[in-house]
């Protein structure tokens, strides 16, 4: 097997440089630049001094400054928004993990009437059009005095990430061989102990990546918070960022600093996740 895969690669490296290869690499480079440019431009604008942003022709070389970040974080209630965002996202993800772990264990490992139906429900719930349900959600929250409420938002985000969490964890649990669990039970573990001591540790990478994806979803959410939390005190960074633009008008440096602050956690999580998710995936596949 290994020899057959190696030979074509060897041949490929010996290939002389052709017009096709140049065109290929050149177009890849152009595409890469186009796709990364907005992100790069956000970073670079956020580090530019004011007078180098307000130019007709963009400046590419400049001395970086953190002034814009001081402006952005100096906004009234900035730390309240940070706190709200973290509370809502982390609360929703933890709650979803807990509830999903139980549900996905049942779906992946047990046989019961209606299992298929539940799988179907989870699948459909994953496609729920939350963006178009804001009106009803607003009325419900209003009736129950839950407008401008952080707990309500946490609950909504929890249900938003729940189906996906169940769906993914189900895959991860199914990938842990039943034999391991049975071996533990033969050795005298109860079913609960077998889960805690055998399956749970093996699930760690899966739990990690699943929760990070949930975090990204909740961090990104916009329609609900726009509709439900109009009070300044109860807003999150998402809403803060869209209003920053209106509040600061043409201070694009500070606006870009705000965008960077908002995007940074997700960018880091995502790059980190890419490896983690793949690692968890292959580990599961090899062991299964």
């Amino acid at each position: 097997m290994s020899t057959t895969t190696r030979t074509p690669q060897k041949l490929r490296t010996r290939k002389p440089i052709t017009v096709g290869a140049v065109a290929k690499n050149l177009s890849a480079l152009v595409i890469a630049v186009v796709f990364v440019f907005p992100v790069y431009w956000m970073f670079s604008s956020s580090l530019k001094p004011q007078h180098e942003i307000m130019t007709k022709d963009p400046i590419f070389v400049f001395t970086p400054t953190l002034d814009n970040y001081t402006t952005a974080t100096g906004v009234d209630l900035f730390w309240t928004y940070v706190q709200n965002s973290l509370t809502v996202t982390i609360g929703a993800v933890l709650l979803a993990l807990l509830v999903a772990l139980a549900a996905s264990f049942a779906i992946a490992r047990m046989k019961f009437k209606g299992r298929k139906g539940i799988v179907l429900i989870v699948m459909m719930a994953q496609m729920a059009p939350w963006e178009v349900m804001v009106i009803a959600m607003y009325m419900i929250s209003r009736e129950n005095d839950m407008l401008n409420s952080i707990p309500m938002l946490t609950l909504i985000y929890f249900v938003m990430v729940l189906p996906f969490t169940i769906w993914t964890l189900r895959g991860f649990i199914a990938a842990v061989p039943v034999e391991l669990e049975e071996a533990a039970q033969i050795d005298g573990c109860t079913r609960g102990q077998a889960f805690r001591k055998v399956i749970f540790p093996l699930l760690a990478p899966g739990l990690m990546s699943t929760s990070l994806f949930g975090f990204i979803t909740a961090w990104n959410e916009f329609a609900m918070i726009l509709m439900l939390n109009k009070d300044k005190e109860s807003q999150t960074l998402t809403l803060w960022l869209t209003q920053f633009q209106t509040a600061f008008g043409s201070d694009w440096g500070a606006t870009m600093a705000a965008s960077t602050l908002f995007a940074l956690p997700v960018l880091i999580v995502f790059l980190f996740l890419q490896r983690k998710a793949v690692g968890g995936m292959t580990a599961g596949a090899v062991k299964g």
Partner: protein, 340 residues
């Protein structure tokens, strides 16, 4: 939306081995005879029949309260008159199908609907085309260049929606935006202080660019991941038989990735059609309500115009259209599940 996409994206391929494994371990469950089939499960401390339901109950309950109930409420609201007066006095005024008949006879509703459909179609066509091309390109690149390109795609993919909308507003700024500079540098005139958000149409074009930019990485990277599973032997065989690149694509790549194409296309249709943050945050549906798509139309009709009943009816009609698309999607997914 992007994040959703990440989620489902990884769920699919990631899940596959596990799903297959789970299936092989559990032959189709006949309802009553669990104990006989699974002697090893005898140690369970709770009554065997109840435990799975107890484990599933919290999840089902929370989805019922915060997902199913709001959906039902949405239907109920769409049969009520809920304007400023009723909103303040909190009365319930039933109007039957009035909201629907009003909407269906309203030319604004139809123009928004057609706009949403055309906008979605254009978006999805571009996303699939560009995404597939980049996916194919990724597959043929050397190691280093592939890393550079996928890293760049990853950045575009990971950008939070609201942040990317803000950046695009800056890129297309009237006074100091890079877009105007690029146009000037390319030699176009009239881009000294061009207002890119002057009309609803031009605003939608910017939103289209944003959506394509944000969605292509998902298609491209998954396409590439799919291509690596096709197996080099098939390519080699096609090459030996003297097939051209085009021919290889249609004869070898496409049949193998057909279900991937279909599923991704439907997913993109659903995501683009219900995209709210990108459209609303870009220009609040303006100027002059000219860049509203259906979800934004519903929001503005409710919050901006104080016609909550009509807004609920719009969302129901939108959901009906989405369900029509989703039914195709679910059929595809279930078919794939059976094949596994």
């Amino acid at each position: 939306m992007t994040v959703d996409s990440q989620g489902t994206a990884t769920a699919g391929p990631q899940d596959a081995p596990g799903r297959a494994a789970g299936k092989s371990q559990t032959p189709p469950p006949p309802s009553g005879t669990k104990e006989v089939l699974q002697p090893s499960r005898g140690r369970r401390s709770l009554p065997s029949g109840l435990l799975p339901y107890l484990l599933v109950a919290p999840a089902l309950l929370s989805m019922a309260v915060l997902l199913l109930y709001p959906l039902i409420r949405n239907v109920i609201l769409s049969f009520q008159q809920l304007n400023r007066k009723e909103f303040i006095t909190r009365e319930t005024v039933w109007t039957g199908f009035d909201n629907y008949t009003k909407l269906l006879g309203d030319s604004h509703f139809w123009s928004v609907t057609i706009r949403s459909i055309v906008f979605t179609a254009l978006n999805v066509a571009l996303i699939m085309l560009i995404g597939t091309c980049i996916g194919l390109l990724l597959n043929r690149l050397g190691k280093k260049m592939r890393l550079v390109l996928s890293l760049s795609l990853m950045f575009a993919w990971a950008m939070p929606i609201v942040a990317s909308v803000t950046v695009f507003r800056w890129l297309f700024d009237e006074q100091f935006g890079v877009a105007n500079w690029v146009m000037r540098t390319l030699g176009f005139s009239g881009y000294d202080q061009h207002n890119w958000f002057e009309t609803g149409f031009s605003t939608l074009v910017i939103i289209l660019i944003l959506l394509v930019w944000g969605s292509v990485p998902f298609v491209a990277l998954n396409m590439y991941a799919g291509l690596t599973t096709v197996g080099t032997e098939l390519y080699e065989a096609a090459k030996m038989d003297g097939a051209s690149g085009w021919r290889t694509f249609w004869a070898v790549v496409f049949p193998n990735l057909k279900s991937f194409f279909m599923i991704t296309t439907f997913l993109e249709i659903i995501w683009i059609f219900k995209a709210f943050a990108q459209v609303y945050a870009m220009n609040q549906g303006g100027p002059d309500r000219g860049s509203e798509t259906l979800p934004v139309f519903a929001y503005i009709e409710g919050v901006g115009q104080f016609h909550y009943g009509v807004a609920a009816a719009i969302s129901i009609l939108t959901i009906v259209m989405l369900i029509a698309v989703m039914s195709f999607y679910f059929r595809l997914i279930l078919k794939q599940e059976e094949e596994l």
